[in-house]
Amino acid sequence: MLVRKFKEFVIEKLILICGLASIFFVVLIFLFLLKEGLAVFKTVGPFKFLFGKSWYPISEPAQLGILPLILGSLLVTLGAAVISIPIGVGCAIYIAEIAPAKTKDILKAGIELLAAIPSVVLGFVGMITLVPLVKNIFHLPTGLTALSGSIMLAFMAMPTIVSIAEDALYSVPKNYKEGALALGATHWQTIWRVMLPASSSGILAAVMLGIGRVIGETMAVMMITGNAAVIPHSILVSVRTLTATIAAEMGEAVVGSEHYFALFAIGIVLFIISFAINVTADLFLHRRQQ
């Protein structure tokens, strides 16, 4: 009996440690980011860093303005959201409400497959197929544009959006739907007037998580957005995102230089953006549960 109790105790504590470990590591990572990133403000003011218009990190003196990078990230993300949200939510409605059981299984497997494609492969495929296509359709000097990045990233956000939105639709109580149908509403009226409003917070959470995935994506955008650090005036120009900048330049940055600190500060900016997105998604999910 005592042995059994002891065993229980040990296992409980082990699981507790596992649980705390994730928080512990997040805190460590954040502290490290802060320590390395805030050092950049010794050489450049926070305002100049966030709203500076030119990014020439290895020049003497270095110009460390990340406004073009922030706008680049936001533009690509916005584009991806505009493409992936209607398709993703539409797909979720079809799977949850309309599709026959067999089609449903095939679709779900397909979406899981889409989620399984590594981003570097998507980037590669995009570079070969999508980039020339965008160039020819819009008669652009180059197809390495924010639009190409947005389309590719939409594919990456879709699986997240579809599976969470579908979940939300499923968890709407059955009697809502039955009630609507019994009152003489058509199938579409039921979906549009009853199901969607009832699951709206879950769908919003799905959208936020999809966007979170997009803004943190690195490899595919680095390969197909052209990486020019200009302030974008349209979606048909090249942009440089926050993530691609870190990935492309971290190898070169001399440890302890202002460039190195600046890259960590970009990391903080990214961290804050993703954190805000995840918290928003969480709030929506929470509201649904209540």
């Binding site: 680095m222 990486n227 650090a229 492309a248």
Partner: protein, 284 residues
């Protein structure tokens, strides 16, 4: 997983790390993407002769190689530019003493799409194009159309060399920069691919990457000089205006396997490989 399995895994981890530490017969060579093919050719030939030892070659850019040398994660850094003073200072701080060995020369080719009517430019025109002062092909004798600038990322020695020697004309006080609209591509191959399919593009990279899908421009030092093609003879005799030395950096004077490998690169066989990979031997 059972506890036994875990224990075995742990033992395996300890065993492999001990093994790796004992295994001194391998060296890491890292750095310039321009030199990766050359480095690999050297390593292959060297290991044919000396099969007991292993030379691993990876790219990443000159800056990447030098910072690995400084942090002690590679034995030899390949670099297509001189080490910066900042890097030397940092290396000294970490107890590393960078030792420079010149192993080859490289001509930087400026390439456009074969369908582009422009076939020659002066260095001044190049500087104007890449700093964004000239934005239409019409202004340098081509068709009416926007110029698409292709550049390497800032971790590339080629990027730094091109900026200092073409954009800034070797003037340390110059503040010229690549136009912000220049596309930064992650590798020389990416530039080659984009130039091959895009008639409006212009890019630059080491001579070794020239193929039939791109047209290498003839370059003149100034308006009065003759336009020269990026060929091995023109780099050796100094007529081609954009050429540069390629270096290996080691920590202190090389010893052991590092020395053997460096000596091999400078030997007759090593320099023949330089020629075969489309670079220019130093002794020629």
């Amino acid at each position: 997983m059972s506890r036994k399995g875990l224990l075995m895994l742990a033992m395996l981890a300890v065993a492999t790390s001990a093994f790796a530490a004992k295994d001194k017969n391998s060296i890491q060579v890292k750095g310039s993407d321009t030199m990766v093919n050359l480095g690999q050719a050297w390593a292959e030939k060297y290991m044919e002769k000396d099969s007991a030892n292993f030379v691993a070659v990876t790219g990443g850019g000159s800056g990447t190689g030098l910072s690995s040398l400084i942090s002690g994660t590679c034995d030899i850094a390949m670099s297509s530019r001189n080490i910066k003073e900042k890097e030397i200072a940092l290396a000294k701080q970490k107890g590393v003493n960078p030792n420079e060995i010149k192993v080859a020369l490289d001509g930087l080719a400026v390439v456009v799409n074969p369908n582009n009517p422009v076939s020659q430019l002066t260095v001044d025109q190049l500087a104007a194009i890449f700093t964004g002062k000239v934005t239409n092909w019409k202004e340098v004798g081509g068709k009416d159309g926007k110029i698409v600038l292709l550049s390497r990322e800032v971790n590339s020695g080629t990027h730094v060399y091109f900026k200092e020697h073409v954009l800034r004309r070797n003037d340390p006080a110059s503040r010229e920069e690549f136009a912000a609209s220049a596309l930064m591509l992650p590798s020389s191959q990416a530039i080659a691919d984009e130039v091959a399919t895009n008639p409006a593009a212009i890019g630059y990279y080491g001579m070794g990457y020239i193929s039939k899908k791109q047209k290498a421009l003839n370059i003149a030092k100034d308006e009065k000089s003759v336009f020269e093609a990026p060929t091995i003879e023109n780099v050796v005799n100094g007529k081609y205006p954009i050429s540069r030395p390629l270096f290996l950096y080691t920590n202190g004077t090389p010893t052991g396997l590092v020395k053997q490998f460096v000596d091999f690169t400078l030997s007759k066989d090593g320099q023949e490989i330089v020629l075969k990979t489309d670079f220019v031997p130093i002794s020629a």
